[in-house]
Symmetry: C2
Amino acid sequence: MKKAHLKIGLMGFGNIGVGSYQVLEMNRKQILAETGLDFEIVKILEKNADRPRPVQVPREIFTQDPDDIFCDPEIDIVIELLGGIHPAADLMLSAMNHGKHVVTANKAAVAAAYDELRKAAEDNHVLFRYEASVAGGIPILSALTESLQANEWTEVLGILNGTTNYILTQMTDFNLEYADVLKTAQEKGFAEADPTADVEGIDAANKLSILISLIFGHRVPPEEIPMEGITRITKGDIAEATESGNKIKLIATARKTVDGRLEYSVKPTLIPFDHPLAGVSNEFNAVFVQGNAVGELMFYGKGAGPLPTGSAVMGDVISIGKLIAKNAAYDNKVPGGRR
Amino acid sequence: MKKAHLKIGLMGFGNIGVGSYQVLEMNRKQILAETGLDFEIVKILEKNADRPRPVQVPREIFTQDPDDIFCDPEIDIVIELLGGIHPAADLMLSAMNHGKHVVTANKAAVAAAYDELRKAAEDNHVLFRYEASVAGGIPILSALTESLQANEWTEVLGILNGTTNYILTQMTDFNLEYADVLKTAQEKGFAEADPTADVEGIDAANKLSILISLIFGHRVPPEEIPMEGITRITKGDIAEATESGNKIKLIATARKTVDGRLEYSVKPTLIPFDHPLAGVSNEFNAVFVQGNAVGELMFYGKGAGPLPTGSAVMGDVISIGKLIAKNAAYDNKVPGGRR
């Protein structure tokens, strides 16, 4: 197997950045053995190099100038983990305009600038991957666009936000009110100090917007998705749901109607106990799809957290690395490159 | 998008062959629109052309001579859906030796001849895909080898046989004995007249052998996997399991021990009610894996049946088609081929 050394520029070194770094550190030898590819993070764009982190990173690879990454001809792949729409989306576009392949976990930026990002990738003949942006570690996007591509999709139902699913599960299992669970979740670090994006459904709507683009080939900006959060759900509502054999879940859904229209929403929904989504508890996410060939399919796993998200980020990086190595083999007319 | 017309030779036109044909018919236009690839099944190796089938196939594309497929230079991809080890494995090797890419759903042949098939693909520079051979429509193999490749795996637990899961679910839900459920299942077509391969765990062991090869890079022939079927399970056993908060499932499992050894088996296993696998009922399959980055992950869906299996078969075919088209673009130096 031909060995290749691939260099990565990382933008953002918060929790997800550190998690992605750790996933590569943990599994670098195995990845090298299985793929012949040796990945190295050679530059990190990050304001705060000195923040205490659970990994040891050489001081000199930190930079505050994105051009140190974009203009480095040795760097093949740029990973964007800054979060938020600005300046993340512009930086990704810049990276692609400099000929870099881009991987991101940033659902807000992908949902907001989906068309521009896809177009920049096409125009620059680079790859753009964002598996981690929907359902964290669950490999739903590549499954839908690769192994499952022989299907026409009629419906997608997702539990796409771990914070709200944790809160609803705790309310259900321990008969608690929303405010009490939120407080505990914040203390434990399962909910942010300002939980608005999670509890109002904005985070789930970003992810649903990306799923709709992929599944139905139709662009629906997140702000056009009807949205209702979980803040007004009481333990009375949950008791009532339980009595009627249902759980309340925050469900992001899109479906094709019989007359071909697309319906979509993010809202608290009754899910019968015997539906596969009913068993998805606490911080876990799941995506349930219905295809005209495969029928019902569900993917279940951790939708957030540094290591699960890092798993998806590095999965995209390795996929890109394999394609780079393959194309290099072509360009060099290495035997075996044909087909 | 560049259009390409790709021709397929199909070997075997039983239930799964017909299902794969139907999946292509149903979704051919959509596949063409999304990928620019037009797939056509141009020859079918099948003894019985006249058997009544739910699809209309032009009489003249049937053949009884595999060389009509192997020696046709127009055919790019061969799909093997004959089932059984012989002559399926030899025919796949022959197809590859003739430079054809091969897709199969045949777990018995893949498990029995894994190394030879992989080697033949490598030697002939062709692609060999077998997503449908494990868990039918569930895209577990490509997820493990692509999106999830940044993980080291510690454990896999699978409900890999729909017939036994159907029987155990019915015994549990309706307090029935094994023999009674088996009889009904046979009448409904959910179990075969000779159910040995299913109920004794042989089918699950074939699939587990393939999973072990992929996940742990270690070859364990199915006959070396300790195996116990479900034929001796009574409704008393199930009542006892229920009382202790468990379901009995036929679980195919492999795990790495702390000292690095591999343990594996197929056997009836107690699964606690709150484990994601406990909710997998009737003919559904599921694969639960534990990775060092992604943590717990479960894939759930239909593990058998003509259309779900056809979904996986055609997914492999489309993936191969995309790579063929991409490589053709390279060879022709079409702009955009670089990277």
